[in-house]
Symmetry: C2
Subunit: 343 residues, 2 copies
């Protein structure tokens, strides 16, 4: 078994622990929250930045407050001093060591923000330097491409959103989450079918929208990292606004959908890509109405917001399976190392 | 002459008019600015969204305030009511008609924000519905891929940033801008050399960072739209954090650089990509120290922040030239139309 698959198989356990601890974590976030909270700023890099994209949606969904993704170079390279009175700043780093994220979070604290670290290591500098910690209980990852870290960060952002505003998932949906992810991990047959489609494509586009949008760029990143295949993630709305010009037979399109307000948008992008000759892999609950040349189903018991997590697990499976089909080692992609020194 | 080239050649004139009117525009923005400005939210789609990415950097550079890019689906699909007291909201749309942008800007106004429209049509609904207008004097575009619109929007964001905070370009740099863009447009020889490199690549990565970062995703989008070639834009920091795994011989890398705090980051990404076998096209001022297999120089008289504009013109030239080399009609890419109905 690859290290990546071993990491992936820990996800039901990790997610169960986050779900069980969520009212405790939410309580600490509420205690830290400025009385007149004005907005939230998130800072991360790589997969964690895709988790922050999810955070951007669920926090604004829950609170209505503006949520922005920091541009770290403004603080680390251009010397900008941010003005963040009344803001929460959230730094995300699996290792808790990435120098750029540490420096950006420090700059935001100096600028008046209260700070929260999301990390796997409670002893890491990002955790000890922040006002509050949301620990993701993942331990270290065996493979370089992040998997259990990513879904744990999604769950942590859902907890954070609920701490600041209204519910993101019901009791039942949170309770179903670990079980659903376990079912997805056990069902590999349809992943193999999809791999046959993806292996024949020169490049792969990943599409989603709204609350589950972050799965598209993350699915594309996983595929690039593990399989070395050009892949790009888009919001279905952005894709229709221009890049669909490249959707042709040499391309495959992976669409992630969920029953809800944006499903029709993703379905439209799938349909238009299909008409241009691109094969479609549809990742969605079976009865959702998203059609593809290959359907890779997920259970529908988590609701749309938490549904990003089982969809992300499907994206991991697709990347891993394609890497193995192409004879690549998914655990150690050439040219990548775990803690980047981006500063 | 293609319509796209005719559009591009109007850029010196359009930019000269924006530069000349900038203190008038800045005065109107300052009059609208809430007394205790808390942050700025930008909403756009496609090329205009890339211009907003530039706006995100220069406004935060000039003010230190948090700047976020809105996620329109939260308002148009999920019914989120944003809470934006003390905020400025800026909607960008060339036509001023895009229903999604109109609805998002309305939702932000209803949520307490004061609103500014950046558009080419002062009679369009986005302009008449907003509290203030920054007109981009481009007229209609002949070609579907936006060119003069994009650089005009960059200039409008620079004006907006200066209205809210410190100077983004000096008097001399603003004065040089139209002339510099004229010189870039006249110098096509190096673009032809670069095209020979790009035509041999299966897909093209565009890299930049910091104040000129937005040129990378826009350069990639132009290349996808006009040449139908897979292309993706990255911050050099994000690229090194993972996607460099795909940098191999089948790929070409276009790097955009400017002397300043992030040049070394872009140069490092270029060097590491080159070692993995990818040919490099370097777009930068000649003496900047960014090296490539082909150098496509730009004059250095505009400074880094306004330098995004001549770099973007180089990106347009590369896309147009590659499209023509591949026998494509850049003016009417298959499957694209001008006003998208994304709602």
């Amino acid at each position: 078994m690859t290290g990546m698959l071993a990491d992936m198989r820990e996800q039901p356990d990790v997610l169960g622990r986050i779900a069980a601890a969520r009212s405790e974590g939410a309580g600490r976030v509420r205690a830290l929250r400025p009385p007149d909270l004005r907005g939230v700023v998130l800072v991360a890099r790589g997969s964690s930045d895709h988790a922050a994209l999810y955070g951007r949606y669920v926090i604004e969904l829950a609170t209505g407050l503006p949520v922005s993704l920091a541009a770290p170079s403004l603080y680390t390279r251009y010397g900008v001093r941010p003005r963040l009175d009344g803001h929460l700043a959230v730094g995300v780093s699996q290792s808790g060591q990435t120098p750029e994220i540490l420096r950006a979070l420090e700059a935001m604290r100096d600028g008046g923000a209260r700070t929260i670290a999301i990390t796997a290591d409670p002893g890491a500098p990002i955790a000890t330097g922040a006002d509050e910690l949301l620990e993701i209980p993942t331990g270290a990852e065996r493979a370089i491409p992040a998997t259990k870290t990513f879904t744990a960060e999604l769950a942590a952002f859902a907890v954070l959103a609920e701490a600041l505003g209204r519910e993101v998932g019901s009791e039942d949906q949170w309770a179903a989450l670990p079980e659903v992810v376990g079912e997805v991990l056990e069902d590999e047959r349809r992943v193999d079918w999809a791999t046959a489609v993806l292996a024949g494509a020169e490049s792969v586009v990943h599409l989603a929208r709204g609350l589950t949008y972050a799965v598209a760029p993350e699915g594309a990143l996983k595929m690039k990292e593990t399989a070395g295949r050009p892949a790009e993630g888009f919001s279905s709305a952005d894709f229709l606004h221009g890049p669909i010009a490249i959707a042709a037979r040499a391309l495959a399109v992976v669409c992630y959908g969920w029953p809800g307000p944006v499903l029709a948008d993703v379905a439209e992008a799938a349909e238009l890509s299909h008409r241009r000759g691109a094969p479609i892999v549809a990742v969605a609950p079976a009865g959702a109405g998203l059609r593809g040349d290959v359907m890779v189903a997920v259970p529908d018991r988590t609701g749309e917001a938490l549904g990003a997590i089982p969809l992300a697990v499907r994206a991991q499976q697709l990347a891993l399976s394609l890497a193995l089909a192409l004879g690549r080692d998914p655990d150690r992609p050439a040219g990548l190392h775990k803690v980047t020194a981006t500063a």
